[in-house]
Symmetry: C2
Subunit: 398 residues, 2 copies
């Protein structure tokens, strides 16, 4: 990857194979801002929140952060008071190694639930990580965050703020697509732009709603889900203020960055062979459109049909019909990319189906459903459900 | 099957291979009550309701029915005004052959969506079916209703009403378990007890809530789902009246009959190798318990772990955590049959896990989650998700 050139100023990182994963792959990483950064975060709403979420959420929400410690291979979830103590101790090791206040350290974990975090690993490796920090370490960080991911996920953007070029870098992990209900989604965003905590929080929340929340169902938040953003101002641009043109530009960059990472997660959807965008238009309002898009994108029967390259529009319209949105069957039309499949609720015949089947053989395409009722629209990304998903998840711990 | 002896008095049936299914298997059946029966029904809430649902729902709800025509291989869904006309014409053929009023005929279809019903088949075969009606034809009816079902589903009960023995027979189809969002679930219940339409409707609704609604998620109703009950009074028992001891006994028989059929559907869950009961107890109330049970039973990660015989309780507790119910992690306990796996939110170690894994090798077992908060309880039936599910649904139409 050549993305290292896009790393925002004032951030360094390191990763190592600490032995938490049996495979011996990279599994522990440290990200550090050279100065204290403004911070914001979005966390799992699962009531069974993992220890690192419980520890990190209040710290990050307090608005200041300087370091993020992340491990894969162990979620430190369902580990009770000991798990919380282990998360706190891990953070303290980082604070000591860097000489910063404990409250400025975020910790994050992903992996198997219910197994204590191996603390000797932390004691041994955190000081080594702190000693090995460098500005081109982020590709390795992304690798160290992977669990069932098939590839690391890094992306970046640049934004000019009052003529000063600022960078936004995101590293993410996630491959469980439809039901990431355990330890599946982490994302860390670093920028050298200057933003206060309140604005950062607002922009992050919006961007997450338009990206990661369009590939997952709310109810399927994992025990460990976490999206953090740090802004350290190291680029030297003036602070971005709420409502300014700079805020709008920064928001656009953040939106597109998180959507790119979200699409990477969807494309990596365990065993997925296709990335499919579901577009819904003509709904009564955007909320209704989102219900329909989500219903189609998460339907197991739709997803297996995508895997089978079967242009089975009956499953799509059925999923729309139970979405809880206003719908009149006789006004529905469906197309696969530019190929019309259904008009006025009726199939358009074998010829069109043949053309749609050809569209489905592509690794990426769009299914558009028009409801013909209003101006509401929404999108959702999904992947197909194949044998590999079953294999990966049936055998995950073995 | 020896169930023919349990057929309620005054009902006859016939089935045939009409050629709607390419395979040449049984695909068209007719059930007739010798006298007009009281009727009630529960129908899909999918806004994309199939033509037979649109035709049959108002007829059955009017409270009187004498015949049910059912076909498999074609759902007559998303077929527009022509589909509705075809459903009506099919019913008319039955009415003519039997010499009964058209409004007394229910029609029902299951199979592929979006393909016109082959009406020449109906014209040719309905009169033959009507000529071949017999009292032991119900096993064949069950076979003619099958699509991806691995086995036919028939069960019966007897109830003594004021000393008179009455019978209740149910025939069902369904194999898509978690997401029966197309043409997946039909059930016809016949009794020779006498009940008026209002009581029949109330008892049916309750029984469906405790059976078929415990194996499916509401939002996943298909375009064709339909449960009908006919009561023709042919046993000669006095009418069952609301609030009576007889009503209670009849309700119990109906509940247990539908639960038996629902469990058959879950066990048949496309490619399923296990039938798992999820019991939730100690919730704040029954509603919360049901949310948790449903969340666990429908989690794709839980279901793949069941297939992999992996006692991955982390996925179970995570699914409970996002159910939207009150939950305190430190009070949760989990057991597999009698084997304790989790207490106070913490795993009980490798020995218990080994015992739980042994439980999972059985074809049928119970996972119990105690929330430790109150007296609310609920159950749900689920099956595992394996390769066969993917194979069946990726290739369904080919």
């Amino acid at each position: 990857m050549t993305l290292a050139t896009e790393v925002p100023k004032g951030y360094v990182a390191a990763a190592t194979s600490a032995g938490i994963k049996k495979s011996g792959k990279l599994d522990l990483a440290l990200i550090v801002s050279e100065v204290v950064a403004a911070s914001a975060g979005v966390f799992t709403r699962n009531l069974v929140a993992a220890a690192p979420v419980l520890l990190t959420a209040p710290r990050v929400r307090a608005g200041r952060c300087q370091a993020i410690l992340v491990n894969s291979g162990n979620a430190n979830a369902c580990t009770g008071p000991q798990g919380l103590e282990d998360a706190r101790d891990s953070g303290r090791l980082v604070a000591q190694a860097l000489g910063v206040a404990e409250e400025l350290v975020a910790v994050s974990s992903t992996g198997v639930i219910g197994v204590p975090l191996p603390m000797s690993v932390m004691t041994n490796h955190v000081p080594l990580l702190a000693a090995g920090l460098r500005s081109d370490g982020f590709d390795q960080v992304a690798a160290a965050m992977m669990t069932t991911d098939a590839f690391p996920k890094v992306a970046s953007r640049t934004v000019a703020i009052d003529g000063v070029s600022c960078r936004v870098l995101g590293v993410a992990k996630g491959a469980g697509m439809i039901h990431p209900d355990m330890a599946t989604m982490l994302c860390f965003v670093l920028t050298d732009a200057a933003l206060d905590q309140q604005l950062l929080e607002a922009l992050l929340r919006d961007a997450v709603n338009r990206s990661f929340n369009r590939i997952t169902v709310d109810r399927d938040t994992s025990t460990n889900d976490m999206v953090l953003i740090l802004a350290n101002g190291a680029a030297g641009a003036p602070p971005v203020t709420t409502g300014s043109a700079a805020a709008k530009e920064f928001a656009e960059a953040l939106d597109s960055l998180l959507l790119e990472l979200a699409k990477m997660i969807a494309r990596d959807g365990e065993g997925a062979t296709k990335l499919v965008r579901v577009d819904v238009e003509g709904a009564v309002d955007d909320e209704d459109a989102l219900k329909v898009a989500r219903s189609i994108a998460t339907s197991q029967l739709v997803k297996t049909a995508l895997f089978g390259e079967d242009a089975n529009w009956g499953r799509i319209i059925a999923a729309a019909g139970y979405a809880g949105a206003k719908l009149e069957q006789s006004r529905v039309s469906i197309r696969f990319n530019e190929v019309d499949m259904v008009a006025n609720g009726l199939g358009l015949g074998a010829e069109q189906e043949k053309l749609a089947t050809a569209v489905m053989k592509q690794p990426e395409f769009t299914v558009t459903l028009s409801l013909g009722l209003g101006r509401g629209s929404a999108y959702y990304y999904t992947s197909d459900l194949g044998y590999e998903y079953v294999r990966i998840n049936a055998d995950y711990r073995s």
